[in-house]
């Protein structure tokens, strides 16, 4: 045991040094800028989503800073941390962003499980969360009082309502086959679709699941076909969505397909070629077609800053669009609150004054005590792929 003396002291020295650098990090931080955090997947399979959200925030931030920032000249600054798609990591970086980086508001990423794990942390640390992607219903409807989780993004419950209405009322189909990814997001939608289809007295003829990185979904489609499905409702991200579409062609089943938003990004069109034609899906926003003033400015900024050539080159567009509007709303709330204190900013968000002519829509009182989602099914658009471009589809 005596042998351990020296290594022991070395270890102690080492860990004290490590802790010291962590603590020093706190002291060294400047007081001037207002920090906005982003906790998202920056590495791994979903990294494209994190990148897209970061771009949306950054471009909006540049606009705000160009006009003088917030709270009398303080610039906004973005601090990014990687949640690696892991809920425990998500909790760690949530605490780090608030306690060490002193972020005023933290934006969220793609993973519903990470966002769910973080919900109690925002309440504990009294810091508002602004979701820019993860659509799990319970992220904003989380039973916390006061509720610190906000979102400018899709909410699965609304999306499922939207999709069900389209399938039953517009497409006039009565035998849906559900094809969902085997994750918390898929689970959330399974519940939502069951509920909203049920309201229309429709029951799915089959519910099939697939995993991330699966190359082939033909067995699932064949089973849905065998069960008599007359349309398929898809909940998938771009790579898997592409494989679903390719599988559909592979088995030669020309069945109408409507989808949640995942297939808008990640080069879905490139992966599927003309097979994607006719696939209908929901979006919060589309960069194709005529853009409003903000849309044009955003595309221009994407081109200049990130070398994005055109709308078909925008990777994971919903992340960028949602985050862009989210940041502007947050800036307005900070300004209205007159401080960076979490509870005050939260209250400001819930009672935002005035009107913000945003990218996705014009926001008037986007949040309230009962409503923490800025976008509802009234704001969603239905679009379809056609020739590698996204075109709007009528939902009447």
């Amino acid at each position: 045991m005596r042998r351990l003396a020296r290594p022991f002291l070395a270890v102690l020295a080492g860990s004290t040094l490590a802790l010291a650098t962590l603590v020093a990090g706190v002291g060294a931080q400047s007081k001037e800028p207002v920090k906005i955090g982003l906790a998202a997947a920056v590495s791994g399979g979903s990294a494209a989503s994190g990148e897209a959200i970061k771009r949306g925030i950054q471009i909006a931030m540049d606009e705000v800073n160009a006009k003088g920032g917030v709270l009398g000249g303080r610039k906004l600054e973005l601090v990014i941390r990687d949640d690696e798609g892991n809920p425990a990591k998500g909790v760690t970086i949530a605490r780090e962003l608030v306690e060490r980086e002193k972020a005023t508001v933290v934006f969220g990423g793609l993973h519903t499980t990470v966002a769910l794990a973080q919900v109690p942390v925002w309440t504990e640390l009294k810091t508002p969360y602004m979701g820019a992607w993860a659509a799990g219903t319970n992220i904003t409807r989380n039973g916390q009082t006061p509720n610190f989780s906000f979102r400018v993004s899709a909410n699965d419950d609304y999306v499922d309502k939207f999709l069900s209405r389209y399938a039953v009322d517009v497409m006039k189909k009565g035998k849906p086959g559900l094809l969902l990814e085997n994750t918390a997001w898929g689970q959330s939608n399974e519940a939502g679709l069951g509920k909203w289809l049920g309201e229309k007295k429709v029951k799915p003829v089959g519910i099939e699941k697939f995993n991330w990185n699966d190359p082939d979904m033909s067995p699932q489609l064949l089973r849905l076909k065998g069960a008599g499905a007359d349309h398929v409702i898809l909940v998938a991200n771009a790579p898997e969505g592409a494989q679903v579409v390719k599988s559909r062609a592979k088995i030669g089943w020309e069945v109408p397909m409507i989808s949640h938003w995942g297939i808008s990004g990640g080069r879905f069109a490139e992966l599927t070629g003309e097979l994607s034609d006719g696939v209908v899906f929901v979006q919060t926003y589309s960069f194709f077609g005529k853009q409003n003033e903000r849309g044009q400015a955003l595309l221009k900024a994407l081109r200049e800053k990130y070398n994005v050539k055109g709308p078909e080159d925008v990777v994971a567009p919903v992340g960028t669009a949602n985050a862009y509007d989210g940041l502007h709303l947050v800036a307005l709330a900070i300004e209205q609150a007159g401080s960076t204190e979490g509870p005050k900013v939260r209250e400001a968000l819930e009672s935002l004054k005035g009107e913000y002519k945003g990218l996705i829509k014009t926001y008037k009182q986007p949040f309230s005590a009962e409503q923490h989602d800025a976008l509802t099914d009234a704001d969603y658009v239905m679009v379809a792929w056609k020739g590698g471009k996204i075109v709007p589809v009528d939902v009447k």
């Binding site: 590495s43 995993n211 033909s218 592409a242 992966l271």
Partner: protein
């Protein structure tokens, strides 16, 4: 559906077998393995994509570049992550190859980008429809090419001088060294070949799986399982195990559910090892006392 499941099962299975042969080759020469073999699969697809689609090179030129790049990758793995430990008899190569894999994946993310890209191929454009189900010509091509390559590797091992050197090193590295065989170089060429095989698998699979920095990890893992249940020292065992595993995966996903696929597949791996601890093709391990 049955025909389709058989075809896609054989396609994927033959690729598992090809990558697994990579594990086998380095194992028999040096009792070490490249735990970032899955990343070699990814590198094959990424490099070919970069040349073929990115730079617009003709496909044969892109493939040649890939072969060269992957041989280099294999040699780098051997030199940096394996040789220091192999010579010292330490098992640390396990973790060092894993560490190298982490680096490789993230370098790919920085250079290639984070999202999946399509690999164009004439053989995945139109499916062959057969009785309500279908498969791509590429899926037929893959097992044929795969089996041919595996046969080639076997011929290389048993009929060429290189192969003889590998065998000598496998039996007794020290004695082989004393006989004038450059042992580190033999191990290095084994690693180069192992990476090449993985890279080829990556290119063959790219049109079906799409190219992404994370595409190879699960393949590398399943190929490892195949190498184990086939018996690390038995190439025929591995080839058979690869095809078998691919087929079983395909049938389980097809007739049961995709959720069950990994569970059943890996449960079978455990079962095989409980019944035959040396793998299907391996001899029961006798101890020398």
């Amino acid at each position: 559906m049955f025909v389709q499941l058989v075809v896609s099962g054989l396609a994927l299975g033959s690729m598992y077998g090809l990558v697994a042969l990579g594990y086998h080759i380095t194992w028999v020469t040096s009792r070490t393995m490249n735990f970032s073999q899955g990343h070699a699969v990814m590198a094959g697809a990424v490099v070919t994509y970069a040349a073929y689609v990115g730079l617009g090179w003709p496909l044969p030129a892109a493939l040649l570049l890939m072969l060269a790049a992957l041989a280099l990758f294999g040699m780098l793995v051997e030199r940096a992550a394996v040789r220091p430990f192999f010579l010292a008899g330490s098992p640390a190569w396990l973790l060092s190859t894993i560490a190298l894999g982490i680096i490789a994946e993230n370098v790919a993310m920085l250079s290639f980008g984070k999202d999946a890209r399509a690999f164009p191929s004439a053989l995945t454009r139109k499916p062959i429809l057969l009785g309500g189900a279908g498969f791509y010509p590429q899926e037929l091509l893959i097992p044929l090419v795969g089996l041919a390559l595996m046969g080639l590797v076997q011929a290389l091992y048993h009929r060429t001088r290189w192969g003889k050197r590998w065998k000598a090193v496998a039996w007794n590295a020290e004695a082989a060294g004393l006989m004038g065989i450059n042992v580190p170089r033999a191990v290095m060429t084994a690693y180069a070949l192992s990476a090449l095989l993985a890279g080829v698998a990556g290119v063959l699979l790219a049109p079906i799986l799409n190219v992404a920095p994370t595409m190879g990890t699960i393949i590398g893992l399943k190929a490892f399982a195949v190498a184990i249940i086939g018996g690390l020292a038995s190439a025929p065992g591995i080839i058979a195990a690869g095809l078998g595993y691919g087929l079983i995966e395909s049938f389980v996903a097809g007739y049961l559910s995709t959720g069950a696929r990994e569970i059943v597949g890996f449960a079978l791996v455990i079962l095989v090892l409980v019944i035959r601890p040396g793998g299907l093709g391996g001899a029961p391990m006798t101890r020398r006392v």
